[in-house]
């Protein structure tokens, strides 16, 4: 069992959620309630990572993160470390790959709130922030929760993008999924089996947690 890989995987999952959830709530809500020109295009762009083969996405991210790109150079100067083949690199790549998994459920969650209910909250004297925290977030909660769980599960399983951008550095970019592949290549079936079972257990546990939380949230509302 590669504990370092498990740690990298869990940190990657948690980090991706931490980066994406605030952005997802802000942007998903925007897409749900605002009408603006080019909205269809934006919605299509948001979905692109979903349909793009992970290796293709990984390739482009490598190009964008690379030492010759402005982003890669800026990161190098600021952090003193290159993005490709680092944890920061796979975290950023994971965040980009997971955009559709976060935005879409959150957008649907906010879309499900009738506009009358938002108007009523304003007419009750609630400021925009109070409306957001006391009315909108509780009502969109199932969508936000789904987004977090999907992202976490998807990050644990992400293979192509991580391998392309991060390679296979132990303790840095080797996630559990990559480690399983690595072990299989070395004919170490036993280790691969343990780690596969671990991922399976985590997946089942996440699903059970989702169901429980979703039920607790939706029970009072029916």
């Amino acid at each position: 069992m590669d504990w370092a890989a498990l740690r990298v995987s869990l940190w990657l999952g948690a980090g991706t959620i931490a980066i994406l959830l605030p952005i997802g709530v802000w942007f998903g809500r925007l897409l749900a309630i605002r009408r603006f020109r080019g909205k269809l295009l934006v919605e299509a762009l948001v979905t692109v990572p979903l349909v793009l083969p992970p290796t293709v996405l990984g390739f482009y991210l490598l190009v964008v993160f690379g030492a010759r790109s402005p982003l890669g150079q800026a990161f190098q100067t600021l952090v003193g470390q290159s993005l490709p083949f680092s944890f920061m690199g796979i975290l950023l790549a994971s965040a980009i790959a997971n955009i559709p998994f976060v935005i879409q459920p959150i957008q649907r969650g906010f879309e499900a709130i009738p506009s009358d209910v938002r108007d009523a909250a304003a007419c009750c004297g609630l400021t925009p922030w109070q409306r957001f925290l006391r009315i909108e977030v509780p009502l969109a909660w199932p969508g936000i929760l789904t987004a977090a769980i999907l992202t976490f599960a998807h990050t644990l399983g992400e293979f192509g993008v991580v391998l392309m951008v991060g390679g296979n550095l132990p303790g840095e970019t080797r996630t559990l999924s990559v480690a399983i592949y690595d072990r299989m290549q070395a004919f170490d079936d036993r280790s691969a089996g343990i780690m596969a079972a671990t991922l399976l257990a985590i997946a089942v546990a996440t699903l059970m947690l989702t169901t429980t939380l979703a039920r607790r949230v939706s029970l009072p509302r029916g």
Partner: protein, 367 residues
């Protein structure tokens, strides 16, 4: 009291055409009446600050809420406005009490719960305060919405089709409650509706809207007795609405005598006490005109009056005759032939004949 008058001017060519201007005094109920899509709800939204037309001016007492000329626009949460939305728009994740408490942000947190319960009791929802909207009936939800609208201690109360989603029995009870509330609140109340029963029951004033433009506005008896409102004629049929009082009740013969500003009317029996104030509506189609007092008819009401206006517009298939009976103006719809035969013109003295069963009697509660 006069400092809480609501004044509204709204004008824009598109996307929703609007051209209205009105005021509403505290204690008055202004019904905004018109077909769906005529801009009724947009007017309410403009008052609440949920919408801002191109040219708009909304003033409540001394507070200017919207003035597009001066670039003034107060957001909805800074306007003392209570709104009952069409489908109530209750917060589904909160209980009835919490729904009302949401609008009590101006109160100290310690007293909100008690105040919410008090408001719910006031709208006659004495139980189920802990239930969520989906566990309440339509009428109960309506009451929660009303309590929530009142919780802000609004300077204006706006009701958007508040009875559309409840059955007739509940509707009658809610009519009574809103009527009762209006007597105690003393603020302007704007009621948007497409059901004339609501208007007759609750409104003191009426604004008739067609494609965003107000085609008539005024006190209810004045407007309903105008012979020249084709729109009103086509939609609900013309008919005067005026106030009366129960003078006598003859349960044995099934009759009710109503005194009004112009004499006495006999209507069919209603279980109403003597002295009860009522609203009377007489449809123009149910009024017959006679130049002499008829004899030998089953009729109870032969009201002597004078023709005050005649609308013989060619576009109409009938002639609308307005007859002054004392201080009340009745409308009668008669054929062109009848007008010619009887020689009816303005000033003609005649009798307006009304069957007692044709008189609509609507009690005003709490009076």
């Amino acid at each position: 009291m006069a400092d809480r008058v609501l004044s509204v001017k709204l004008r824009q060519p598109a996307p929703i055409p609007l051209d209205v201007e009105f005021t509403c005094d505290p204690g008055d109920v202004l019904a905004v009446f018109g077909p769906s899509g005529s801009g009724k709800t947009t007017i309410l939204r403009s008052i609440a600050g949920l919408y801002c037309p191109e040219h708009a001016w909304v003033q409540s007492g001394a507070d200017t809420w919207t003035d597009t000329a001066a670039r003034t626009f107060a957001p909805p949460h800074r306007r003392a406005v209570g709104v009952v939305f069409q489908e109530y728009a209750l917060f589904p994740h909160l209980t009835a009490r919490e729904n009302v408490m949401t609008a009590l942000g101006h109160r100290r947190s310690g007293e909100r719960k008690a105040r919410a319960d008090q408001l719910l009791d006031q709208v006659h929802l004495s139980e189920h305060h802990d239930r969520r909207p989906r566990e309440l009936s339509g009428g109960e939800r309506q009451r929660v919405a009303l309590a929530r609208a009142l919780a802000r201690e609004p300077a204006v109360l706006l009701l958007d089709e508040p009875f559309a989603a409840v059955d007739r029995a509940v509707r009658r009870r809610l009519h009574d409650e809103i009527d009762e509330l209006q007597r105690t609140l003393d603020i302007p109340l704007i009621l948007v509706t497409h059901d004339f029963e609501d208007v007759v029951r609750l409104a003191t004033h009426l604004l008739i809207l067609e494609q965003g433009r107000s085609i008539a506005r005024g006190a209810l008896p004045d407007l309903t007795s105008r012979p020249d409102l084709p729109w009103l004629r086509e939609s609900i049929g013309l008919g005067s609405v005026f106030n009366a009082r129960v003078a006598r009740r003859d349960a044995e013969r099934g009759l009710l005598a109503l005194s009004f500003d112009g004499g006495t009317l006999v209507a069919s029996e209603h279980a109403l006490g003597i002295g009860t104030r009522v609203r009377v509506r007489i449809a123009a189609r149910d009024v017959i005109l006679a130049t002499s007092e008829p004899q030998g008819l089953s009729l109870h009401n032969a009201l002597p009056g004078t023709v005050s206006a005649v609308n013989a517009d060619r576009a109409l298939d009938h002639v609308v005759v307005q007859v002054a009976v004392g201080g009340v103006l009745l409308l009668a719809e008669v054929t062109r032939d009848a007008v010619a035969r009887l020689g009816i013109t303005a000033g003609t003295r005649l009798y307006a004949l009304v069957k007692s069963v044709s008189i609509g009697v609507i009690p005003e509660s709490g009076a």
